[in-house]
């Protein structure tokens, strides 16, 4: 090949952000082909859940009085919790199999690793994409919540980034875990069955954690989902207080940062053999 004399024709090694964006583009290009399906489910899921549980089941709950919920309608109680729980589901869906497929079956990651991209850049690129997906879904969820009349405060807008952070508290570790899997995706089924579903049911989404036996409550308090649910709910209801909000945010952020350090090591371990 004759050397090209076009400006900017030489490969470059950029900073961490620039390199992560390069890796992010791969997910974006692929998402262009699949976005319709995900757009459909990100609208349908909230409509079904809010309709059946919030409105349907909620009308029964409301008849018996909602003092234990703080005197609000069940729909208003449930909706922000579901928003956080939906973020968890989006995060797990985007992190487990897509990452495993990229590293194990399609070798997309290995192809990227033979370019200037470092393992951490490839990891960060996928996390950028997951962040985008979480933000999209959380924004749609909030819109549907509002349409159901389940939003009580303008602070609910702040629930969108909180839901994203909640999702990242799952995506960051699961992404790092998925990249280390070498045989098959069976361990993901365990995560879904014994991790995600119990969390979904018992982290305060459907009923206050105070309804749980006292000995099991601390277990709920250490899960990231409980923090996400509690903060989204207090924002949506307009009952958030600063100290509580900082506590939840600090817990979730700390979790994300620790998982990020471990995930970077996991990517390096897998891609630099």
């Amino acid at each position: 090949m004759t050397a090209s004399v076009l400006p900017g024709a030489r490969p470059t090694v950029g900073g961490s952000w620039d390199m992560a964006v390069r890796a992010f583009r791969w997910w974006l290009v692929n998402y262009r082909r699949t976005w319709r399906g995900t757009a459909f489910s990100s609208v349908l899921n909230p409509v079904l859940y809010l309709g059946a549980m919030g409105v349907g089941l909620g009308s029964l709950v409301d008849k018996h009085g909602t003092a234990s919920l703080g005197g609000i309608s069940y729909l208003a109680f449930l909706a922000p919790g579901l928003m956080a729980a939906a973020a968890m589901q989006t995060a797990v869906g985007e992190s487990a199999y897509p990452v495993f497929t990229a590293v194990k079956w399609q070798h997309t990651y290995q192809a990227a690793a033979s370019t200037p991209l470092r393992p951490a850049d490839i990891y960060h690129g996928h996390l950028l994409f997951t962040t985008m997906r979480l933000a999209m879904n959380a924004a749609v969820f909030l819109g549907i919540m509002a349409a159901f009349g389940a939003v009580s405060s303008p602070w609910a807008l702040a629930a969108v980034p909180v839901a994203v952070l909640t999702g990242l508290a799952f995506a960051v570790p699961i992404d790092g875990f998925a990249v280390t899997r070498k045989k098959n995706g069976q361990s993901f089924d365990l995560i879904f069955r014994f991790g995600m579903i119990p969390l979904f049911l018992f982290s305060g989404t459907f009923f206050p954690v105070t309804q749980l036996p006292a000995w099991i409550r601390p277990l709920a308090y250490i899960t990231p989902l409980w923090h996400g649910v509690a903060l989204c709910r207090s924002l949506s209801l307009g009952t958030a207080d600063l100290a509580g909000a900082i506590g939840h945010l600090a817990y979730l952020t700390g979790l994300v940062l620790i998982a990020l350090l471990l995930g970077q090591r996991a990517y390096r371990w897998r891609l630099y053999v």
Binding site: T2, T115, P116, L117
Partner: protein, 312 residues
Amino acid sequence: MPDPEILIKASGLTKRFGEFTAVDGIDFELRRGEAFGFLGPNGAGKSSTMRMIGCVSPPSGGELRILGMDPVRQGPAIRARLGVVPQEDALDVELSVRENLLIYGRYFGLPRSVIAERTARLLDFVQLTDRAGSQVEPLSGGMKRRLTIARSLINEPEILLLDEPTTGLDPQARHVVWDRLFRLKQQGVTLVLTTHYMDEAEQLCDRLVVMDSGKIAAEGSPRELIETYSTPEVLELRFDIAEHDQAAEKVADAPSERIEVLADRILLYVPDGDAALAAVRGLGLEPLTSLVRRSTLEDVFLRLTGRRLEDG
């Protein structure tokens, strides 16, 4: 002051995986513009060496300098100047041919306009212009391999690494790939390739090392290796299976530099194959079939290791 014409220098290069030593202290140099090969059976340590050169596998010991840089600390800067054709193509099969080059070029930080211009040129070079908009999935193995080669050239690399470039391709597709690689070589691209096909090594490599069990058994041009480790001609004899062992003993009486007794054939390494065949017949032996051929790298490998390349 290091010689700028030496693009890769390895000394005592070692790669261990736990207890297993995949690459066992090898030395080699790659010079600008040459086509350099690692020939050896599966498991000889070729791919491990290639991955260390590709800066995706930190060496366990020894020295490795690539383009004057340290592959562990300066991996991204080195990889920016390498082209890599991996054993498994690792293409984005659900994307189009053109999109594959675009996304890969973007990894290198190249602007879209530059990628578009190079894509047209590269697809023409690998004869895939009419497939530019097609999805990759249904393409044949040979086309996919050619696309992988085009992709590896998007950053106009100074060194092109090819790991088993024609493994798994049918003979016709192999020849097309060889032809393209030969053209690249003529254009002055520095090639490093691994192969367990002796004909591939003979066709493409200016210089090669024969690897076995993680070590370099010999080094030189294909011609030098054949001259050093083999005879000009080889007489291949095939006997009835019942007579094979007996014939192998008797044939030893015919003049030859060396005899290799394989499971199905007996090879006589001789200066003149026809004369050797006459001598064998003079001993009262009549082979079912006989073949006189020139020595190849396969014979070199057999001589050096006692095994055949394809035995692995």
